[in-house]
Symmetry: C2
Subunit: 416 residues, 2 copies
């Protein structure tokens, strides 16, 4: 893990230490001693950090939200280096962190490092027992790089599977094989399914994933009885909807998963199970975010403890629900959770250190306050209970700039 | 409706009448007086007719099933003209009857007329109150021709809608608009949705259909509350699965509908409703099939009444369920059904005349007899109750040739 953006809005020993030890990617350019926020700051480093969602908070589709530029100016110094621990936590999955970091840097005019970007899939790094398995990977864009980046060494794409078994993909009349191709017999059995993000051609992906599950990884064969439990399915990003330029929300990976779950249930009469389900609102994502925030803080402020996390997002069932769920987890001091993966991650990155995680809901994205009273439909994933208290944000504000101002005020940094 | 293939396996007055009045498309070539089946036949014309499914019964994917050729030889004379009333009842929807009839003629070596082909969508001809509405049509292949063929005069394809509102279709990163296109404001409001068969790019079709329903036909706008009841949705073909060359069944239009229903329910908390749902196993399709069989019989045998229908198919939840459901309807003499459309069709084509409809299940397609004992999962559509008695075929045979032989034996035509 490299050195991240750090906080230059500190003075005295911390500031000197920063100048000596912390190479901002443009760390060669040190913060100007004359910059306005350098006066009147508390001596102690911040004991809080930010988890900031991207779509609907910083951008809508290709457009940057103006308030995001103001927020970035508040969070960074005049050299574009972050002055507070910040991670960008997105459920977008069809990219690699390097690309997302570069996109954010370009859009916001600040220096975002790949280690500040948590993609929906990032916690899959911890599921190492599947990393050497033959995994069918679904998604779009550079899915093989993406899977490799997470540690998966043997992946097969849906398109490769389709080419090996062309008679499986029959929905598109134009793509059906004209002749009966010879049967493929030497294809390696698939040992698990890795769903990284919404693919294109859902009909093909849904069909081939179902084929793999019903055939126990040998889609050229037909089994009299589909195995159950089925092969392990690891999944990231369960967002049903997200907000782009259109006036109504767009389908996310959660909509694809909903289709997959519905088809599996209809065909087999049983529920599709996930061996891993990561990304907001799962605890795994927040565990990982806290870990990265702590690392930033340790590197930049000589171990200043991070006690409060502020999670800013636009989606009640993703950002608010997740932050509140993690807050519950923190209240229990990371105990009482039974999912094996939480313990595994805890073992690898240490127990949680934060005391609270606050949820801040912005109105610049998918959340429509006019729907609040009418809304009785839970857009969260099937595997998360509908608990209305988890959908109640700690704070509701107009946009990310207001959110940052609120936190600064609450934390006594409002003179920054 | 033109003159259809007819039955030349009759003698005496009927045969003379046939020779004089019935122009087999090759009616110029009269049946050879010396052909083997011409001897020992009953004097009366047949009082039964066939409804034959196509996929899994006559063909699997591109391959004709050998038994289908034998069956065709039994059903037709040496000139390839049908000797019995036969309609081909398929739930395939992405074509027009002319093309399907030609395909069948080529595959089976018999003369199949377009009027002998009942597509899943064919009963939509009777839903005339929607024929002048602005309908969004989903499917693949020549969907506009297909809709026109059924009487719909104002259709818009999903692709046309996508081009008018490019910011709606956001799943495929490659197809997202690079710049913010100008808003379309003069697009005619959509008044209904016509789902003819499984489309390609399900993500696009699902998204745009949901947009149309949630926006009450104006997908560029965003409504605070989605209208309910939503715009009328007319649908044909609800087959969940069908059998092609692969060892496991393939997705049909029913799988697409399942996705659409699941997404609509998840987003709105309400059920998607169909104003029309046609194709097997609905009664509308069998009403129409009986009507066409009666027309064939009337034209070819001076009004010989058709009393028994034999429905041959490979799919328990489609072919068997549908035939049994229609048999119940016949037992009640076409009474007791409340759906408006049944009455409408009855008004247009007369009451049912048949007394029984038998279901014959073949093992050459999607039906897997080894699954029978284990099968507890209903693959029928949501709107059809799971009644195990409706899934019990009158007869189960190996293939369509055995099915024809069985009927001939039962009807006393086994010397044919």
């Amino acid at each position: 893990m490299g050195v991240l953006g750090c906080f230059t809005a500190v003075r005295g020993a911390s500031a000197r230490w920063l100048r000596q030890h912390v190479p901002c990617r443009a760390w060669g350019q040190q913060a100007s001693p004359g910059r306005s926020y350098a006066s009147g700051l508390p001596q102690t480093p911040p004991t809080f950090g930010f988890l900031i969602d991207i779509d609907g908070v910083l951008v809508r589709g290709h457009r940057v939200i103006p308030a995001a530029l103001e927020a970035a100016r508040k969070l960074a110094d005049s050299n574009g280096c972050f002055r507070f621990p910040v991670v960008f936590v997105t459920n977008a999955g069809n990219c690699v962190p390097q690309v997302k970091a570069q996109d954010l840097s370009d859009l916001l005019g600040v220096q975002v490092e790949p280690e500040q970007v948590i993609l929906s899939s990032s916690p899959l790094k911890f599921f190492s027992k599947f990393h050497d398995k033959q995994m069918l990977v679904s998604g779009q864009g550079p899915v093989v790089d993406h899977a490799w980046n997470l540690g998966f060494q043997n992946v097969i794409t849906v398109d490769e599977l389709r080419q090996a078994f062309p008679i499986l993909d029959m929905v598109d009349l134009e793509r059906r094989p004209k002749d009966m191709p010879p049967l493929t017999t030497d294809f390696p059995p698939i040992e698990g399914v890795l769903l990284l993000g919404e693919p294109v051609r859902w009909e093909t992906n849904l069909q081939l994933i179902i084929d793999v599950l019903l055939s126990n990884g040998n889609p050229g064969t037909g089994l009299a009885v589909a195995p159950y439990p089925h092969l392990p399915v690891l999944t990231s990003n369960m967002d049903l909807l997200w907000m782009a330029e259109a006036k109504m929300p767009r389908f996310g990976h959660g909509t694809f998963l909903l289709c997959l779950e519905s088809i599996y249930r209809k065909i087999t009469g049983k529920e599709l199970k996930y061996e891993a389900l990561v990304g907001k609102p799962t605890i795994t994502t927040y565990q990982y975010a806290e870990f990265l925030i702590r690392k930033q803080a340790e590197r930049c402020t000589r171990g200043g403890p991070i006690r409060r996390l502020y999670a800013i997002g636009d989606n009640p069932v993703t950002d608010v629900y997740g932050a509140n769920l993690y807050n519950h987890y923190l209240q229990k001091n990371g105990k009482g959770e039974v999912q094996e993966c939480y313990e595994e991650i805890k073992k690898k990155q240490g127990p949680p250190m934060a005391e609270r995680c606050f949820s801040i809901l912005v109105r610049s994205g998918v959340f429509d306050p006019s729907m609040k009273q009418k809304e009785t439909t839970f857009h969260g994933h099937r595997d998360f209970i509908f608990d209305p208290s988890l959908l109640e944000a700690s704070f509701v504000v107009a946009d990310v700039h207001e959110a940052i101002q609120l936190v600064f005020c609450k934390e006594g940094w409002d003179h920054v």
